[in-house]
């Protein structure tokens, strides 16, 4: 256990270390400074903008920026929905997959358009290669880019941009073509080399050594998995996600995919430091995020990897179910690291089945999504942390009896209303959704068993419903996949939660930052609250834990805690 912990400390140190230069690079791209890959990527970026007819010189205020964001996302949503519901008639469908049913398509496209990647289908049986390439991969790039663009706009507003926060399409093109694309090209090459397929041929039929027929689903996997991991998307090519050997063939790819989950979300904090010219503040924010991440990791690791084998009776010797839902090449320790990383950030890919995690391992995963602010989805996690900073500034200001100020600008009633709206949306979506599901389940004749929703009895069955809404609201996409979720109830309710939970936490903080930046900046004096101090860091950590977790105490007790105490 000690060795395992030391190894993981080393792994995290490496990921943190690489996130620093990556964050600086992202800042360089958005400041318009030259970077190493410019000769290849700048023409591509210009080409995209020219094809789109974007006037790159035009700057927008936060309202116009948000409007372009929503409008572009709407077009992408419609295009994606049209393709999957017509995929049977489109090319690149060697396995003859049929059109997607409309409510499932509504859920699927809302899921990918919001960077959630919750999947109520299995890729190998429900999506053609055309859909995987032109809908899933495409949305995995642009929605991650949208998150990055939105947080860069927010950073510019915080840095003091008075009216103009940037041009959404220029930012989106930069985020996708100049940041995500080169990283995805590199990662996909390694994945392909390690054994992840890249073919447009249909499923292969083999005759096994014992003479059985086995049909092997495959496809353009390597390229998709790379952006799935880098863009905090998480939606797998196959139903089994990164437990599938084609998506994650070796321990090397396991490590690289974990790196890809964390790298950009971590880097965005350093980007903030550069763009706002407040390195110390970035260090403080990063430290707070790490101080939230490490306890969750310790909990997950202790629950999954530190478990002692238990006797099963029947004189067969000690039997240990630790490997249920896990893969030998990944092992328990990396499965735990993956499960906590993928839920703390809003990635949602899995390398072991979360439904089969221990109760406390599942709790660590859910807590990461409840907080939804540790590094966070590409960009968006940072936006959530920004809201927490505003609230912490307010709380600290009240405690010391001063007008709360953030970087010299007064935080007043309007800002606090917006911050409260952004913060309350998340628990509202999760708790109301779970309550509605519980009501439907218990109001159905025969105590809901007729619905066929729940794979597991007792508190864990409750956790399956809770996890689904948590994952939808955190735009995460992982699941307790035992839930029979391809029904109109789950398809429509979670789609609505995903849409609300994507755009409310993007638009409201933009309005908040816009409102702040419109105010005159007061000069900093000795009496100004030093928000880059360790004291404020501790305050911020406490505010995040109290506001972010306390509301979920009751459901945590009803689900994973009850399951654990019952000897699960």
């Amino acid at each position: 256990m000690l060795t395992v912990s030391l190894v993981l400390v080393f792994v995290i140190a490496v990921i943190v270390g690489t996130s620093i230069p990556l964050g600086r690079h992202i800042a360089r791209v958005f400041e318009g400074r030259s970077t190493l890959l410019d000769p290849v990527l700048v023409p591509l970026e210009r080409g995209v903008l020219r094809l789109a007819g974007v006037d790159a010189g035009r700057q927008h205020d936060w309202r116009a920026y948000a409007r372009a964001l929503l409008l572009s996302n709407l077009v992408m949503w419609l295009a994606g929905w049209a393709i999957v519901t017509l995929q049977h008639h489109l090319p690149l469908n060697p396995d003859g997959i049929g059109n997607m049913e409309p409510t499932l398509a509504f859920n699927t496209i809302s899921s990918f358009a919001t960077n959630t990647n919750l999947q109520h289908y299995a890729g190998e049986t429900a999506l053609s290669y055309f859909s995987q390439i032109f809908v899933v991969t495409f949305l995995q790039f642009v929605t991650a880019g949208t998150g990055i663009a939105a947080s860069v706009a927010l950073m510019r507003a915080v840095a003091g941009a008075r009216s103009a926060v940037g041009n959404f399409y220029v930012d989106l093109a930069r985020a996708t073509v100049r940041i995500l694309l080169p990283l995805a090209l590199a990662l996909a090459t390694v994945l392909l080399w390690q054994g992840s397929p890249a073919t447009l041929d249909g499923a292969a039929t083999v005759v096994t050594l014992e003479g059985h027929t086995q049909i092997i689903a495959r496809g353009p996997v390597a390229a998709m998995v790379a952006i799935k991991q880098l863009g905090t998307n998480g939606g797998g090519f196959f139903g089994a996600n990164s437990t599938h050997p084609f998506e994650n063939p070796t321990p090397l790819t396991t490590l690289l995919e974990i790196w890809a989950i964390l790298a950009i979300p971590m880097a965005m904090v350093w980007t903030f430091g550069v763009l706002v010219k407040r390195r110390r503040l970035a260090v403080m924010v990063f430290a707070v995020m790490l101080a939230l991440f490490v306890p969750l990791l310790a909990l997950g690791l202790a629950a999954e990897a530190g478990r002692s084998p238990e006797p099963a009776g029947m004189s067969v010797g000690p039997v240990d179910a630790a490997m249920e839902g896990k893969e030998v090449r990944v092992g328990t320790a990396l499965t735990a690291l993956w499960s906590v990383s993928t839920t703390a950030t809003s990635n949602g890919s899995v390398a072991g089945m979360h439904d089969s995690l221990t109760p406390l391992g599942g709790l660590a995963a859910m807590a990461g999504m409840w907080l939804n602010t540790i590094f966070g989805g590409v960009g968006v996690g940072f936006i959530n942390m920004f809201v927490f900073i505003v609230v912490a500034v307010f709380v600290a200001g009240m405690m010391i009896g001063r007008t709360p100020e953030l970087l010299g600008r007064k935080v007043e009633a309007r800002e606090m209303k917006l911050a409260s709206l952004a913060l309350l949306w998340h628990p509202l979506a999760i708790l109301v959704g779970t309550a509605a599901a519980c009501y439907v389940w218990s109001a159905t004749t025969g105590s809901g068993s007729a619905l066929g929703w729940l794979r597991n009895p007792g508190p864990h069955g409750f956790s399956e419903m809770l996890y689904e809404f948590t994952s939808a609201a955190a735009n995460n996409g992982s699941g307790f996949e035992g839930l029979g979720d391809n029904t109109p109830f789950w398809n429509i309710s979670t789609a609505l939660v995903m849409l609300g939970s994507r755009y409310v936490p993007i638009i409201v903080p933009l309005a908040l930052a816009g409102s702040l930046s419109a105010k005159p900046a007061a000069p900093e004096t000795a009496g100004t609250l030093a928000i880059d101090s360790a004291t404020f860091g501790v305050t911020l950590w406490a505010v995040v834990v109290i506001l972010g977790l306390l509301m979920f105490m009751p459901v945590a007790v009803l689900g994973p805690v009850a399951e654990h105490l019952a000897g699960g």
């Binding site: 789109a52 390439i133 073919t199 039929t205 014992e210 086995q214 839902g325």
Partner: protein, 210 residues
């Protein structure tokens, strides 16, 4: 507004082409030129050219002459991957694990103590191609007995197929079951069909000639 909508449509079309089509075309070409084996799914063939399986995916083995893979919640269906999704607290999981452990003991005979967890639990993908070295060693007496060869010879083959953890620490040591079984057939010849595919193993062969 109409102009903005038009920009949205054109931007969507342009990025769909570049980030969807062009991006995938790069790896389709790279796969065809530089990594044809990996790109196609790591498929291996018999000497006569027919496909026998993917080195990355488990396939079902029931005969005593072969090493067996981990249990699978999807019966090793490589077109419908997935795990059992059974919770740690679910009595059904306990029951299944215990039943597998008893069956394992009956099949492999005495002479070992602990049941390796990986051999009595369903993998996440249902297609885990590996087993732990302990799970492989445990099957040596049965396999060598069924093939009528010295256990030490089969044991040496197992040891030669243990892949160490990456960099010595990541991902645990493992044995690829299909590779090991292919090596078995190469070293000792394929099993006689009446025993391997016949009633004794309880398996119906769909293509006995293969």
């Amino acid at each position: 507004m109409r102009n903005e909508l038009l920009i949205g449509v054109r931007f969507t079309a342009a990025t769909m082409l570049v980030l969807g089509g062009l991006y995938h075309a790069v790896f389709w070409a790279l796969g065809a030129v530089a990594f044809p084996f990996e790109a196609e799914g790591s498929l291996v063939r018999r000497p006569d050219g027919t496909l026998v399986g993917s080195l990355l995916l488990a396939q079902p083995f029931h005969a005593d002459e072969y090493f067996h893979p981990r249990p699978s919640a999807v019966r090793h269906d490589a077109a419908a991957s997935g795990g059992s999704q059974l919770a740690w607290s679910n009595p059904q999981l306990r029951a299944e694990v215990t039943a597998r452990a008893i069956a394992l003991r009956a099949r492999e005979g005495p002479g070992w103590r602990a049941v390796p967890s990986d051999l009595v639990t369903a993998s996440g993908s249902g297609l885990d191609p590996h087993i732990s070295p302990e799970a492989a060693r445990l099957q040596v007496p049965r396999v060598s007995g069924a093939r009528g060869v010295e256990p030490s010879r089969v044991g040496r083959l197992v040891e030669a197929h243990i892949e160490p953890p990456f960099l010595g620490i990541f991902g645990g040591p493992r044995v690829n079951v299909l590779e090991l079984n292919l090596a078995l057939d190469q070293a000792f010849g394929p099993p006689r069909q009446d025993t391997a595919f016949g009633l004794r193993a309880g398996v119906r062969s769909s293509q006995p000639g293969a």
